[in-house]
Symmetry: C2
């Protein structure tokens, strides 16, 4: 089976490697703009779009063969139902991290597959995972220290759980890998349930 990860994220690559899965990386330029305001629907739709764009790319190059599985994922941070993007500037980063401190938000990841089975049939499947993340209080000085670091920029919600913000994260509830960007457990379960594929044995 040919397995393709439709993501340039080094963290997603690292997680798949940890599982001992042999895969290659192929990405397409997916338009990530969407009017969808429901975070769960948004991550499922964008993940599916990313997988389908890679499928279309291979198809156009006449390189889409049977026994191919394309894996894509999309992750957002949601606070009180509002989706947080990447901060535009320092003031935006300050606003975001100030909004996250001393409260609970959710990180949602969609996972989507495009699968071309042994007979050449094209199938799709997707789902999402949501993890609650609890931030403790940050003083004004903490917020300043944080926005003066490199951490908040180029990250949705202005933080990464494995970075400096971990200082203020008091706990999470749910899949840790989901927060990093690839929900391993539901990914493997979905492949098994939708297509009978055991990702650890392909």
């Amino acid at each position: 089976m040919r397995i393709i990860l439709a993501s340039k994220s080094p963290r997603r690559k690292e997680i798949l490697e940890t599982l001992g899965i042999c895969f290659e990386i192929i990405t397409a330029d997916t338009d990530e703009h969407s009017d969808q305001t429901d975070p769960a629907l948004l991550v499922e739709q964008l993940a599916m779009q990313k997988a389908q764009d890679v499928q279309d790319l291979l198809d156009a190059q006449d390189q889409l063969e049977p026994n191919t599985l394309i894996i894509a994922s999309d992750t957002v941070v949601a606070l009180n139902g509002e989706i947080l993007g990447k901060p535009h500037d320092r003031e935006d980063a300050r606003r975001m991290i100030s909004g996250l401190q001393n409260t609970t938000h959710h990180v949602l990841s969609g996972i989507a597959f495009c699968y071309i089975d042994a007979q050449g049939n094209r199938k799709g499947a997707y789902t999402h995972a949501s993890t609650a993340v609890h931030f403790g209080p940050m003083s004004d000085a903490d917020v300043e220290l944080y926005v003066n670091s490199d951490e908040p920029y180029d990250k949705a919600g202005a933080y990464a759980i494995q970075g400096l913000a971990g200082r203020w994260i008091t706990g999470i509830e749910g899949d840790y890998f989901n927060v990093v960007g690839l929900p391993v457990n539901i990914m493997c379960e979905l492949a098994k349930n939708a297509f009978g594929i055991d990702l650890l044995r392909v």
Copy 2:
């Protein structure tokens, strides 16, 4: 301030580095044998012992100076109150991972400081964190695949959350960093509350 991490663990080193803390690593040969059966008391005692052993080592070398903070940690896996050590062999690994699948266990980390303040006074502080880890079901074939990998050996409880076992971990409740081996949030809070030290600004 001189900060010393009393641990050889690459993961603990990596976590402290992520926080931007400048530190050096000095370890002593701490006797980790204990009759303590309570996991929370055990990790606190062993963490404190590790910190004190490094303090004694520096003291014996006449290198223990004011403004020194020694940080130590100890992590165990507990299932139904029983502390799981490292598996002795394949059969032991099979028994451990079979016991963890389809249930919830706890990972406990103790964190301990030895602090020599500006006046040369010696102070100590310790605490612990506990995180619940939920494993989904594993088939017999999953267990075989797992014990035939390198993963279970040399790891307490026969797994590491950031490794292959992540495939079957459905979620956690509590501090993720605690499961990796260094509970960042309570470490920083303890330094602040016990000694007035802000670890991000030393």
